[in-house]
Amino acid sequence: MFDALSDRLGGIFDGLTGRGALSEKDVNAALREIRVALLEADVALPVVKDFIDSVRTRAVGEEVVRSVKPGQQVVKIVYDGLVEMLGGTEAETGLRVDNPPATIMMAGLQGSGKTTTTAKIAKRLSEKQRKRVLLASLDVRRPAAMQQLAILADQCGENVSSLPIIEGQLPADIARRAVQAAKIGGYDVLILDTAGRTTIDEQMMSEAAEIADIAKPSETLLVADALTGQDAVETARRFHERLPLTGLVLTRMDGDGRGGAALSMRAVTGLPIKFLGVGEKLDGLDAFDASRVAGRILGQGDIVSLVEKASEQM
């Protein structure tokens, strides 16, 4: 149902081939299509507006390259702009987990993928960096949340353990106990999984802030669903206000959503996107790749080859 942006732009530039510069009129016509394409990809409106302005400045007056269709050239400009806005090709994605026990705190709305991502990160740290990781669930609300994390920890292999469950303990107390256990147990990394919360639940938001105060995490990750719509901005802003966030994780990138939320959240927080969740299984975690996400937002699998072709000729 979504048209790739290059298809949308096709007709607009029909009269414009070969030499000359992109006129403001041509660019504006193209930008209207780009605007709709981004909105259909769920990029938040304020982000779309800023982005369109920056593309306009860049595109107007640009020399039209003879061998590339002007539509493709605009797509290339848009694509480059998106990649840059997403953090560029050399985005900083590693986790700061050098001083043991380094604490990572996970936060986000209900059902966004925090618990699953907690286990995925633990598995990755233990396998790729030989870290010993302790997982602790601070979720005293969702039925069986603690069992879920314990089961997943077991699936992560011998270098990953989970904090023994004590029924009836409050999240802040579990956090203290976890930090203590990580120190005593000589763990390299402690990951705190927290309950899902809406950003307008004041009690739950201050609980999260309190946990961060106690645990002093070196990484606090906001885990969000890549299928999120226009609410992405609001959610990112409100979590950013209350927690010492250091990065974002976008889950369910294995879906067929266009993932515009990635751009929105990155834009309002300025935080790096550290990982993409790409499956339910524990190996379904990819390092963030701005070019891949940009191509996805524009709705074209072939964007890379298209852009490569265009850049060769530009």
Binding site: L45, L109, Q148, L227, E234, D254
Partner: protein
């Protein structure tokens, strides 16, 4: 506490403005920020302008007019359902993408049914996710309704078969079947769901009597593709939208209501057993535009 909607706070800026092209365009933008989608936002503002173009409008007037436009789209989809009624055993299947709120919604409905005195059975058809069975079991225990399960990794269709047999033997009123979350573009997982439906149909050609697609209010335009795919695979008969207690107001439901003749049964407004409300087109529209009802 319910927050005022994004649309509501945005509309304050429209007080005493003339409804000209520029204002209409701004309005359209505002609707887009509520996930209505560009096309539906355009149609709604167009309708709105028909009688009021070039007139000066107050904030309240614009809010009410917008709410009415939206309510008109949603009203035909309002349909309260009483699962404790109808055929016995009534088989209700819950489907949707990961984390949308299926298990919790079943838990809430189970609590309601218990109050109504219906004899129900919960079926832990999510045999994949860690602790999915335990989660449903907690809900079943809370409501005092039995939960039927098989170990993680078991065949969901086989479990459902046995559950319906048991419901017949024990003369139960209904069977609520949980399923694993799955993204609609995963062919293998969708085929698995199709198999569950097939097995149920084989036992009773009229069943599943309800196939409820559970949607998360924060979801954007992808919800349209979810509805299409789950309709196609599982024959969805109705919708539930969860998590309307957050900042997202579920505007994509308006786009869905325009495109699909599917009843919307309930909304979820929290994580507790009582946080389920029958869908009301009026209340939903008012909340979406942030109007004080």
């Amino acid at each position: 506490a319910r927050s005022s909607s994004r649309l509501g706070s945005g509309l304050a800026a429209f007080n005493k403005r003339k409804l000209d092209d520029e204002t209409l365009e701004d309005l359209e933008d505002l609707l887009i920020t509520s996930d209505l989608g560009a096309a539906v936002a355009r149609r709604v503002t167009k309708n709105l302008s028909k009688e009021r173009f070039d007139r000066e409008i107050t904030e309240n007037e614009i809010k009410q007019a917008l709410a009415t436009e939206i309510e008109d789209v949603l009203a035909p989809r309002e349909k309260i359902v009483d699962f404790s009624d109808g055929p016995r055993p009534r088989v209700v299947l819950f489907v949707g993408v990961n984390g949308s709120g299926k298990t919790t919604t079943i838990g809430k409905i189970a609590s309601k049914l218990k109050d109504q005195g219906a004899k129900a059975l919960l079926v832990a058809g999510d045999t994949f996710r860690a602790a999915a069975i335990e989660q449903l079991t907690v809900w079943g225990d809370r409501a005092g309704i039995p939960v039927m399960s098989k170990p993680t990794g078991a065949d969901a269709a086989g479990l459902v078969y046995e559950a319906i047999e048991r419901a017949r033997e024990e003369d139960l009123d209904l069977v609520l079947v949980d399923t694993a979350g799955r993204l609609q573009n995963k062919a293998e997982l969708m085929a698995e769901l199709a198999k569950v439906v097939r097995v149920i149909r084989k036992m009773d050609p009229e069943a599943p009597h309800d196939v409820i697609l559970v949607l998360d209010a924060t979801v954007g335009q992808n919800a349209l593709s979810q509805v299409e795919a789950f309709r196609h695979t599982a024959g969805v008969t109705g919708l539930v939208m969860t998590k309307l207690d957050g900042t997202a107001k579920g505007g994509v439901l308006v786009a869905i209501a325009e495109a699909h003749d599917l009843p919307i049964h309930f909304i979820g407004v929290g994580e507790g057993a009582d946080d389920l409300r029958p869908f009301s087109a009026h209340a939903f529209s008012q909340a979406l535009v942030g109007a004080i009802d």
